[in-house]
Chain length 505, copies 2
Amino acid sequence: MEQNKTKIKISSKQEDYSQWYLDVAKAWDLFEYSPTPGCIVFKPKAVTLWEKMKLEMNRDLMFLWVQNLYLPLLIPMSFFEKEKEHVEGFAPELAVVTIGWWNELDDKLAIRPTSETMFCEYFRWELQSYRDLPILTNQWCNIFRWEKRTRPFLRTAEFHWQEWHTLHETKVEANNFSLDILHNVYAKNLKEFMAIDWIAWQKSESEKFAGAEKTYTYEPMMSNWRALQICTSHLLWQWFMKQFDVSFQWREWVKEFPSYTSWGLSTRSIWWLISSHSDQKWLIIPPKMSEYSAVILPIFWKDNFEAVDNYIKDISKNLIWEFNTNWIPVKWEYFKAFVWANWSKIMVDYRDARFWEKITDFELSGYPVAIVVGQKEMEENLCTVISRITWEKIQVKVSEVSATVEDFFSKWQAQLFAASKARLENNIVPCYSIEEIWKAIEDSKFAIYEWDASDNIKDSKLEAEIKDKFKATTRCIPNEWQFKTIDDFELKRKDTIKVIIARAF
Amino acid sequence: MEQNKTKIKISSKQEDYSQWYLDVAKAWDLFEYSPTPGCIVFKPKAVTLWEKMKLEMNRDLMFLWVQNLYLPLLIPMSFFEKEKEHVEGFAPELAVVTIGWWNELDDKLAIRPTSETMFCEYFRWELQSYRDLPILTNQWCNIFRWEKRTRPFLRTAEFHWQEWHTLHETKVEANNFSLDILHNVYAKNLKEFMAIDWIAWQKSESEKFAGAEKTYTYEPMMSNWRALQICTSHLLWQWFMKQFDVSFQWREWVKEFPSYTSWGLSTRSIWWLISSHSDQKWLIIPPKMSEYSAVILPIFWKDNFEAVDNYIKDISKNLIWEFNTNWIPVKWEYFKAFVWANWSKIMVDYRDARFWEKITDFELSGYPVAIVVGQKEMEENLCTVISRITWEKIQVKVSEVSATVEDFFSKWQAQLFAASKARLENNIVPCYSIEEIWKAIEDSKFAIYEWDASDNIKDSKLEAEIKDKFKATTRCIPNEWQFKTIDDFELKRKDTIKVIIARAF
């Protein structure tokens, strides 16, 4: 809440989306530039967002029996060379350590750009019999790739992610597990917590990850009406397994290769969280992702401070709506915090400052609800509850504070998701010709088009043409559970499929 | 719970403590050797331990208003050179990246061996006025230092830690904050969760961190009666501040340097957690640090499976003793888990295996309590609750399961702490001559001795002599709140202080 010292002008979202994003992220103290080239400082607000995602995802992973482990940061270069396509894809981006233990290293070490090779090496030791399958592992870690053009959170040399790597006995089982993850982890968290809707499903042949059997993708529509790939998942099947000789004794005692999947979600999510929801003026974070659920703003003077303080203690007792409280006041002089067992927190702004200063800082904070408490409220046994978004203001009895805050909270969460859903739903255009695609792209829409599934070469040629002419790409082949526009889009020919074409951010 | 496939012989704890530790950690699946030199794979059990510590410490840090941020992994070499003593200390251990963005880098980048220099750089941008103080930050991250001799968790090239860095207006305030941390974070977590007692306080002049005004340390007695430094904290005061020109406008508009403190706890803690508590045969983890609070072992056959399953559901309702449950059964075929909001978890071993297989795996697991449920128990509306340590076995009514488990749980936690406390308390020997120190060290004791506080040179000479002759070092100058032996140790001369001398692990 020290943003008042930074008076940054926010550029127009319409005219310069990229600069608008930078201004918003800077003004609301999410990052700082770093003296290390291509990197940023993740400031506390950004770390809190990432920790929230981690907490939710870890809970989901546990229910799927996925275990977190941690493999080394540095990967021997010889590993990359086992998988030619892989090394070619990553070689230019590697940060390499050449000297170790006071000597030139024979096998140089690269800071991980992704960990497939390391996981394969690990799986080779771990996997013996079919009884060991499935092996379901996940890793939270930092990643390093030199990037030509960096932008805070969206693309930086160092970033953080969650990468999971699973082995299954059969290809069908691997694919089914992918579906479980899709529904129970990514889809759920994107919708429920991050309030973002998207189009999901397979990438086309030419757009999928090199060496993967299938690549799945999530493509939301950003608030500049462009597509963005936010997490990808790969059914890698047996290719890596064969290169690294990861195999098991099958039931009939035949050597068999397992089916491999890998998935990831990165701190890029901070980027789309901010840029999806924020408007011209304010940083907007979905309430379920907000560090503080509410901020209490007391108005007091010397003589009534103790009374106001006691009144706030009474209110806090009424605010505990989910679990028993566990609160301890913070020691430092300006703020105090109340905390729930599930990490939902309330901050009390006890600073000896004017009310307008406190309300301005609340405006800038991104937190969803303010509760104003002063002499007047105290005398009438009331509180004034303010929603930061709608600026709706209600006076309620102390016993009703909890319900009111919760109501503001969930209304706003639902509203943000509805906006994200509507943006996507209202901007998908059925196209039956190249000309129609062209018009849709120019109008900042997603085009849905009919694709010849039986003729891969024809597809690729068309994709190349669209990419070249319109700077647009096939984003995905959507699956059945999608939007009405997609469902209603009629396939005219046999053996054809629906594809979404759009410009990416 | 796949340890039954690894049949590792555990070496004698008495005869070869180092090998015993390695055998225990390997047999109970905490690590795997890695193809990257000097590194290990942190297996899921180890990651879970570290995540538990992180969760507890983050809660405490929040109450102290300390914020988590994240600074880059790679530090420009020029930063190290700003602080001569610092670079000399770390230079041989640095892993350096020389090429970036397809060119030789002018300012080479080192993987962080610690982040003081980066924090100072960050603080220089952040700090302007005294109103910005205190700045209280913490970082959870990976660290890399080449090491000559590595040992899993105790000393590896890559490890994880929490490093906090705080700036204060005055030296007194900085020191007071250090005391807060000592009492409210480290001391609390070491005692309450990790069940480890220690001697704490200042390092002597010759043993403190280079450039620090004061170094505080925690020294438990390991189960081989040697000392080990488990976390250090430094009142760095203004030295780094001056090198990096971190200053602020003081109240009277004079430029002033703030007082700097830094503290850390690393994944080395996994080492002392295992080696403090485990006995010759078993991995022992304090129940509060255990991933699963209890394991339910059902005995069933085809005809009664459904009945047993329902019976377990009834029991689970009675097991929720802390918060409302939130449980969802796990999908994979063998195990299910019940979960509480605070991440306390119960596992149900639904494998279609013989009872002795299930009980053996429980023995190997390190989890504190088993609840056996079969036809017999069901008919009598009972459960059999087993403590893994004492092998105490009680038949209790379903309504009493919760209280029984909690009782086993807290008894064992208390017992482990008592053992750690007793080990230390009973092995401190008052020494009034060099000969007595010699005898104490030879007997694997901690010696308490009288030190001439007014004569630093004399101290150093004596320290060097002891180090040289006995391979023992001054571990710390203990403070007032310690053990009876220390309190009773009488100072014979004026201007003297008490010091603890011991061999370190």
